[in-house]
Amino acid sequence: MTTAATAQLDTLVARVPALREFGYWMRRYRRVWRGTVVMSVANPLLFLAAMGAGLGKLVDANHSGHLAGTPYLDFLAPGLLAASAMQNGFIEGAFPVFQSSRSRGNYPAAAATPMRPGDILAGHLLFVAFRVLLSGVLFLAVVVAFGVVGPARAALAAVPVLLTGTAFAAPLMAWAVTVDRQSRLNGLYRFVVMPLYMFSGTFFPIGQLPHWLRAVAACTPLYQGVALTRAVALGDARPGATAVHIGYLLALTAAGVWAARRAYVRRLNR
């Protein structure tokens, strides 16, 4: 990078304190990125190969009417993509926030500088979004390599992935900053995230669920993310439904940011 560009970057960082927090997380990430990349590529690859290709053989041979002629792999891949955005949003939004907010963590340290709680939140959320997007792009590369989606549609599908990730991460950060025991985060994963994963249309259309459960599933954020990602990836998006999905996810992100701002201020200004 040229000196002029570096100087410009320095002024930008000086003007926007949130970027310092973002820089902190990026410097940390520079040391551990290898492991996370292995997991973000290996995980989807394994699930796609086992469920998409293996189980897909049984599903496609059965010709059931549920998928309306879509091969199972094409149906599953966008669902898994959205579900992994949720999981990445959870992993990046829950445990690091919990650990950072404890005494001697990096949040209190940052709060002792001129940075305000809102800056700390914004910088960290920016990093979480970066992580969700990075994993999503790697997953999409795998999906393109499998020949499920073309490169153009895959690029477009990065948007719903990012939206799904932030819709989970922002409210989660609002809560994780107040939590006092790590077992609560584990409990949330087991009893909320896992059921969402299994019943939000990732592995099968929610139309197959009993009537009352279908209504519940349609209201969950993961279903909205899955439906949006699938519509974009398969290229059959309808304007009305797409607007609802995007509006839902944006509203959840906004509400999460609002709640997180309040929680961060309360936690770090004491």
């Binding site: 394994l46 086992a50 293996g54 189980l55 049984l58 059921p195 197959q208």
Partner: protein
């Protein structure tokens, strides 16, 4: 057996207040089962390769999930929990200051993991039976089968944990366990693969575990079940020998 029994008693006393954690371990296979039953089963329909057309997809998957639950219950206990005691809490250093020897610790922890694996299996198995997914009296063999699976993986976990250097290394264990879970015929029969892949899958301990549970619960009893039992017994014994030797070296009093 007084030594190992003392260690099991110690664990019982400690875990008395956290028994509900076992519920979480049962919750996950139940979720998988519901998801399979309500959703994927309808997509799959009849499982090819199984003679009896009345056997639905859920009947096919449930025994595999049961075997996986026994495996995870035992293996989580001897990897995560023992790593904490070995490297963080130095529990064994204190225990070895008593008349207990390293052999007692190893056998006691494996016995304890077996107990936990069995508890998970019994509750999950009762659930499976309540769903009406058990068709044959041979299904009574599920309990000894699950015990054998728990033994094999508890011993394996104990051997593996002596090589773990940090919490990050658990990701490497996941990198082995997840593909094994996905590819060991949990969700679809072996016939899906090409023959060379089939042979590789047949070598996996989880594949043999699933055979050990699936065949009797579908009412099939053949040489494969006996082979699976022998395989797991040999696998677990070998792992136990390795674990003992490694622990002797790690925990020199």
């Amino acid at each position: 057996m007084a030594g190992p029994a003392a260690l099991v008693e110690r664990n019982l006393v400690i875990y008395r207040h956290t028994w509900y954690l076992l519920l979480a371990e049962i919750f996950e296979p139940v979720l998988y089962l519901l998801s399979m039953g309500l959703g994927i089963g309808a997509l799959v329909g009849h499982v090819p390769g199984l003679g009896d057309p009345s056997v639905g997809y859920v009947d096919f998957v449930a025994p595999a999930l049961l075997a996986t639950a026994a495996m995870n219950g035992a293996m989580n206990e001897t990897t995560f929990n023992i790593y904490g005691k070995l490297r963080m809490l130095h529990t064994y250093d204190s225990i070895l200051a008593t008349p207990l020897r390293i052999r007692d610790v190893a056998l006691g922890e494996v016995a304890w993991a077996l107990l936990r694996g069995t508890a998970v299996t019994v509750v999950f198995g009762a659930g499976v039976a309540a769903f009406g997914l058990v068709h044959s009296l041979w299904a009574l063999l599920i309990l000894p089968g699950a015990l054998l699976i728990a033994f094999a993986f508890a011993a394996t976990g104990l051997a593996v944990v002596t090589y773990v250097r940090s919490w990050q290394d658990f990701q490497l264990i996941q990198l082995v366990m997840l593909p094994m879970f996905l590819f060991a015929t949990t969700f679809y029969p072996l016939g899906v693969y090409a023959r060379p892949v089939q042979i590789a899958v047949e070598c996996l301990p989880l594949y043999q575990s699933i055979e050990l549970i699936r065949e009797p619960s579908l009412g099939v009893m053949d040489a494969g079940v006996g082979f699976a039992a022998l395989y797991l017994l040999a696998f677990g014994s070998a792992a136990l020998v390795v674990a003992l030797r490694r622990l002797e070296r790690t925990l020199v009093p």
